[in-house]
Symmetry: C2
Amino acid sequence: MHLFNLKIIKKQYLALGMLVFVVLFLFNSKPAFQCQLTPDSSAYLPTIYGITPTYARLAQKADLTRLSQTLMLVKNFHWIVIEDSASKTKLVENLLKESNLKYTHLNVKTDKPKGSSNHGNGSTASGVEQRNMALDWLRGHLRSPEGTPGVVFFMDDDNTYALKIFDEMRKIKRVGVWPVGIVGGMRVEMPLVTDGKVSGYNAVWKPYRPFPIDMAGFAINATLFLDFPEAKFSRKVQSGFQESEILKYVVTQQELEPLAENCTKVYVWHTRTQKPSIISPKKLKKPLVPDNHIEV
Amino acid sequence: MHLFNLKIIKKQYLALGMLVFVVLFLFNSKPAFQCQLTPDSSAYLPTIYGITPTYARLAQKADLTRLSQTLMLVKNFHWIVIEDSASKTKLVENLLKESNLKYTHLNVKTDKPKGSSNHGNGSTASGVEQRNMALDWLRGHLRSPEGTPGVVFFMDDDNTYALKIFDEMRKIKRVGVWPVGIVGGMRVEMPLVTDGKVSGYNAVWKPYRPFPIDMAGFAINATLFLDFPEAKFSRKVQSGFQESEILKYVVTQQELEPLAENCTKVYVWHTRTQKPSIISPKKLKKPLVPDNHIEV
């Protein structure tokens, strides 16, 4: 009996020792667990589908480069880039691949009426076909098993987006709005908010627009594009009315959700990159070493 | 004796059990250790001291915001931002604080001769006092115990920097050079390389400059500013000669180190942000809700 008792006591010590180590083991492994969980935890955030039309020009790679470097800091971001070209270019293809971003690369050439203006001179109809193609792709994606809930944000490739705007738009239930810096002849174009609702707008450029808001000033719950399969941009509306065109399908002014601290903070700016002036090589006295093989 | 033997055996089991758990414990804690080590491992990289003069204008916050978001992705980066103003502004102070970057915030007002031109209209003398103040600060810092070896890179707040350029400049022994996109009337202004050495330049704007290179096209080993305490920028040189002014103190053409795959890749672009045109509030028929309290 004495021996048996001792055996039990020893077994208890052994069990206690094991327990202490199991506790230490679990406690110590916690940071490792946290490290591994960090990327996964973002899976519960709504996806941001950024839709960016782009076209070939001298500053294209520069503009896409710095935008992509901002997007690298945004969790659960899916970049839909649509080239205005008959085929995908190597420049954009390589840039997207090297960015390590989650992306979808599309292309569609704008069908320009004869005698119409080119890009970059104020024609606001640019991007219509490209954004519509992205919306078509998005509808198919959302219906597929890979489709995740989220918001749709229309992003110009030369605008400036502070990281805070991406946090804001994940709060959207239907359509969120916020101020936009340096646009429409103003320091800041913005919705006016009374009792938490949009009651009007500070806008001086075509203030009679149904929604006098810039493309950078709103984002839309992605599922609304399934609820309203006819929602799209149009070539038939006058300049400055694209935003109103898409918004009219999915929201009323009363339903707009003012974000960015009740539309009192500027987190996006309608910056534009100056068109570079290039000296014609024919005008040079001394010929240069050829540089056409270098991608800029 | 029999009881004693049993005791020894029990002790051996206990010790074995403990050993197994100690091994499991150490093995399991390895990933946690790796996670904690990741930020420290970058301490062995040369520091990049980015020197950025800046001045108040409508697109200032936008430009600094997107530059700061690129810099967030650069390891061991120390941003020296020098405002052209009599005192530090809240705008820049808050932006730097919120960026979580390692930074030094300085200010010095440009002492403009009467009747001279303003910023942004091509005056290339802008930034002279600011960059010199940064170099003075740097010399003190490098002599202090906190000073770490590295390179000095002069960065405009509206230029575009691909992440690759920061990897390139950490290879510098003395002075590294590389092509710059859309600058000086060219798609790309670049050093020409023969047998791994700079043998000339493709430059059409003032090609007679001693170093026909843009400010974004080179970086300098920081210790050279201790070796050459007199090295600085000057208000007395003609437009376009600031780069040559600083380089003449620290390097000869023969010593330049061509980077970016022997100067065949463009990783920096001399982009400029278009000056926004703002409609005067006096010209409006309908007055706006005041928005001066909103920072843009």
